[in-house]
């Protein structure tokens, strides 16, 4: 049935939910007891929606309400200040570096874990999952312990003239660490289902390893990789704790959008804070829409 027995814990939004997660499986109940069944159905629906309204829909509506309650132009002003735009681009820049790095690593590691045979696979798997289980604050701390001025590599880095902590590379590093596992974990199940037959056939026919990878494997795992990328991006965009520790809080230099939200909030600029929050929420929703679009495309492909 599900692959959860092998220790790969499913991640939300994974393509293993191939069928539409909204397609109803209910069928009209038999006449006897139909009313009772209907009441149960409505009751359960009420519980679920009530819970969601309080916990999810309410907060989301609140964000948008608080942002726009004074009109659109304060929002536009707040969104176009130099600090805000810098924070926006810095966030995107960090994501543009961290996500491809994690993607390459993710595909490579998935191939290694799925196709390779060596001792210590379980340990490797734990190492990869570790960032997911660690508090972001701890991630920041451990990075300072290694790459900070007084850290293990501090002297060596200083000699090379490289500044990691309190500079953008440190923030990229922190972001990459907290979003590490997703591409790996999304690609592995797909690789497993793909099987080695097509690849071996290609090799027998004389294709080079690289050709096999490009022409057979990569297209096969494409949607797993894309899902992983979307999840990684969402996580990376919103990262706050770890980046806050390694950033140095330098205005218009090391302030990502989440850090900017906190800065505005602390300076009683609630419009600025909520505006930046809305931008982040919209970016997150955009990522979500991409994910849902991908689910639909994946479904069409598998049902074709």
């Amino acid at each position: 049935m599900s692959s959860s027995g092998e220790g790969a814990l499913p991640i939300p939004g994974a393509p293993s939910a191939r069928r539409s997660s909204t397609r109803s499986a209910a069928r009209p109940p038999a006449a006897a007891g139909a009313r009772a069944a209907r009441r149960r159905q409505l009751g359960v629906r009420a519980i679920a929606l009530g819970y969601l309204a309080l916990l999810l829909l309410g907060p989301v509506a609140m964000i948008f309400y608080r942002t726009f309650e004074h009109g659109i132009s304060p929002v536009l002003n707040a969104a176009t200040t130099p600090s805000a735009t810098h924070a926006f681009w810095l966030s995107l820049e960090i994501v543009a570096i961290a996500v491809p790095l994690n993607t390459i690593f993710g595909i490579g590691m998935a191939l290694l874990l799925e196709r390779g045979r060596f001792w210590g696979k379980a340990a490797l798997g734990v190492l990869i999952d570790l960032p997911f289980a660690i508090s972001p604050v701890v991630v920041g701390l451990s990075l300072v312990l290694v790459y900070g001025k007084t850290g293990w590599l501090g002297d060596w880095l200083a000699e090379q003239g490289i500044q990691v902590i309190f500079s953008v590379p440190g923030m990229v590093l922190a972001t990459a660490v907290v979003s590490l596992p997703f591409v790996v974990r999304e690609t592995m199940p797909v690789l497993r289902e793909l099987g080695v037959d097509a690849e071996q056939a290609a090799e027998t026919l004389g294709a080079s390893p690289w050709q096999t990878f490009l022409r057979i494997t990569l297209p096969g795992i494409r949607w797993g990789v894309v899902y992983g990328v979307v999840l990684t991006t969402a996580r990376a965009l919103g990262e706050f704790g770890a980046v806050s520790i390694v950033s140095g809080r330098i205005e218009e230099q090391t302030q990502t959008l989440p850090l900017f939200v906190q800065d505005r909030f602390e300076n009683f600029d609630s419009t600025g804070a909520y505006t930046a929050a809305v931008v982040l929420a919209l970016l997150a929703l955009g990522t979500l829409l991409a994910m849902n679009l991908l689910t639909r495309i994946t479904r069409r492909r598998t049902e074709a």
Binding site: I97, T150, Q163, I250
Partner: protein, 332 residues
Amino acid sequence: MPKRTVAIALSLIAGTLGLTACGSSGGGGGKHLALVAYSTPQSVFEKLIPAFEATTDGKGVSFSQSFGPSGEQSRSVANGLHADVVNFSLAPDVERLVKAGLVSPTWNQNATHGFLTNSVAVIIVRKGNPKHITGWADLVKPGVQVLTPNPFTSGGARWNVMAAYGAQLKEGKTPAQAQAYLTALFHNVVSQDSSARNSLQTFLAGRGDALIDYEDEAISDQKKGAAIEYVIPKDTILIQNPVAVVGQGTTSDSAKSFVEYMLSPAGQTIWAEHGYRPVISGVPGAGKFPTPPGLFTIDSLGGWKTVTKQFFEPETGIVTKIEQSLGVSTAK
């Protein structure tokens, strides 16, 4: 291994390192000063820096600014955060940098003993002062909810604690009685945020009846229209905020000029306008600050070195023990 993948990976790594080089070098021509300060004076520097840049010394000088909790900022600089001028909430945060070899040991041997601004500890209350708080004694009354930041992460909180403690001594209490007062005070504390800024946020969010804070924070907040008043207790501590130049590199001349500007009548006037008590005499607008009859300094309590050891040592400090004793009795 496909050469292309290697090439891509290496170029990504190289690109990241390239970004590093851009970040750490000083940038193009012109002098650049890195200011690292505690969070409260952020809005003052927004005025000070352009004013300085308009002077002859300040021409062509550009700034990067970083604000955060005083202790955290100080630690960041010690850990490698680049800084040319630092302005912290209390002197020990500069002493840490002296120990790290970043600030000269003679940093406080000038006319103002290294201080940039003064303030006093005050009690901020809701507009109309519904709980009729007039001084320290009212804060330990049952049912009064007090806010103060966490003394182990916030310099501001240490000022608050020592203000309360010192005031008790000024009133003639013994040290033991003053400590009992602190225990009663912490019993009434309902939220300990990580910085003075966050504490003010919490108060404005509706929590608590009284917030112990700096006078300059209260003034600037009233200006922004917050529905608050503040009470200057009869006995309170003089809050002295230090400033120092970091390092002896090529920027230290500009850094020194910037500090001198901030200590000049022109600079101190800007500070006074924002509610900070000047450290030099003859500043217009200084008259609006009332002098509390029982004003004392940290030196009268032994200076920060002694006080930190006695009160804020993580395991043996008086405040540590107070928090622990409260925790043991109130934790469910």
